[in-house]
Amino acid sequence: MSVHTDHMAETERTRKRPFTVAFIGQPNCGKSTLFNEVAGYRSVSSNFPGATVSYTEGQVRILGRTIQLVDLPGIYSLTPMDPAGRETQRFLLDRGADVLVNVMDASVLSRSLELTLQLLELDIPVVLCLNMMDEAVRKGIRIDSGALSRLLGVPVVETVATRGKGIRALFGEALKVRKRQSTGRPLSRSLDVERVIADLESDLRERKFSPLPVSDRLMAVKLLEGDPDFEGILVGRTGSLPPSVVKSRKRLERSHGKPADAVISSERHAIAMQTAESCSRMGKPSVRWQDRLDDVLLHNAWGYLFLALILGVFFISVLRFGTWLEKPMTTALENRVTAWFGTGTPDSLTSALFKSAVYGFGGGLTVVIPFLVPFLFGLSFLEDSGYLPRAAFLADTFMHRIGLHGTTLIPVLLGYGCNVPAVMATRILGSPRDRFLATVVAVLVPCSARMTVIFGLAGAALGSFAAVSVYLLNLLVVTTSGWALSRLLPEPTPGMLMEIPPFRRPRLEILLKKTWFRLKDFIVIAWPLLIAGSAVLGLMDHYGWTGTVNRVLRPLTALLDLPAALGVVLVYGLLRKELTMLMLFQVLGTQNASDAMTAVQILSFTVFVVFYLPCLGTIGAMIREIGFRRTFWVSLFCLVLSVCLAAGVRLISFLV
């Protein structure tokens, strides 16, 4: 939004724009859970800080009003240190909301208030939402929300988002503060700091900047803190920072003996602590068995054992469950197709088209779904329990050795689900270099689509040992690439700094909703694509066009010793990786690959598919996160790597 728009146009727009309420708060305080409770499951909620990296919007009707609801990524402060937080900052500066609902983790009141104090300085109507009241009670914390409300001059509503408690009251207050336009009152700091802020504020006012996107007070505070984004706003207007900014910082530094930003933030910290203390009482916390879990799960020896065990059990049970479901379904499909179309190639165009479409539909149903459902469910369980950040903590020791950040493990583990959210999740990392490395590593990780190829092709035809070997080979390649890349881009990184949330019992209802939310992506995008792709393949076959594609790709298929007919299959893999296996079945005319290919061919095909070019969706996400050029190089790297590895499989089979 341009700040130079004239007043008339501005009010015009405000009138047309629906009433916007934004959820803002520190990471992992339950914003997305609250959002989903109101707007239906739309924003993936998890139990780790940084689960939301871009904002989600939804229109809801509540208390007879249409409200535009926005779920913002979590931020610890209005000076965000990672791109996810910058999304939130940009939303506040560029678009803004009519009412901010400041969601707080009531069990961490004092730290949550540090953000609240900054929001109060924004001069926008605010409602405080004391979420996770149940956890606060368990920790023995009693909060007097009435006292907190009187002190800050804003309404305070207690909620338990996971049980939908207090949500109506929350929106009731949001509507009231909007009507009254009541903005609360910023708490004052010590006198000398207030004086410096006031002087800078009045200097900013005298300079008569065209209206700033935030209040003069917050602007002054953020300039004293040295926030580069707020500095950028002024530099953008006048070309340089007003000298008064530097002078004011010097004043604070001289009187307190530490940098100006430290003065401001420690004052805020002290006020937050005082406020929290005066509004809450500490009782006896009740210790749950989950709280003792860390003694084992983060233990120097047991922790790694459990990490291996948990991930091992996860993958093996997905494999077992999937195979168990897949076998009878595939046989049933084969029988049905034979009963309908007979064996051999159909001669009329319609029946060729129809048979292929049925194959596409059946392939999605019998091969992808059996593996995808248990996988997505298991991943949701890991996410919601709070184990992911612990796995990152354990992995940091080793990942640090190869030059990566322990936090990188979170995008990597998400990558096993789908590479697209994994690439987006790199936004929880602060430095661009770490983000780039995490992107490369996350893209190499076999997503659930490639998992279905590994399990459904190599696993089904060659046994689970083959499937596990492909995973281990992948792990080796991922580690080596990470190590090599971090050597190529040597840069000291500040390392991990991450909040470890308490373990929480995942709720079945949420797990099912989340699994469905992610499965829907397959059902509405990949499955239709699969059916259409399958039909197109049938059509091309009917007219003999597949031959041309296969001839163009012959050098590649010949190098890998694959049947020439598989050329066209690899092209489909660019759309979705599952397609490679399903189209392979279709091209070969059987659901059992070992009928038409040797074991070595199956293995080298699987390896090639696991590593070759990222799918179009991932490429799109990469372009957005790391830019076009780097995406090109990463894709090229993947292609070269896959050819080498698949050729390597062939070479080794010669030697053995």
Binding site: S110, A262, G406, P494
Partner: protein, 87 residues
Amino acid sequence: MNSVGSAAGSVRPLDLCRRGDQVRVLKIGGGWGIRQRLNQMGIHEGDPLVVRCSALLGGPRLIEIHGTDVALSRCMARHILVETAPK
């Protein structure tokens, strides 16, 4: 520079602390970025904290501060100077 050691009562960087140490933050070093990141996680000068875990081979530490658990890498911990908290 302050003397570095692990004896009780001495001033030392956080990365030299052991599991179970109860300490108080004396000073936060490093530049603007590190200071901001630590402050935003609720780690300020004067705050008491407990070292809950320290991973193998110079891996990260887990500290408990203001009722939350925070994992920080060794290089982060090195910027935090602490002293043993008076009982």
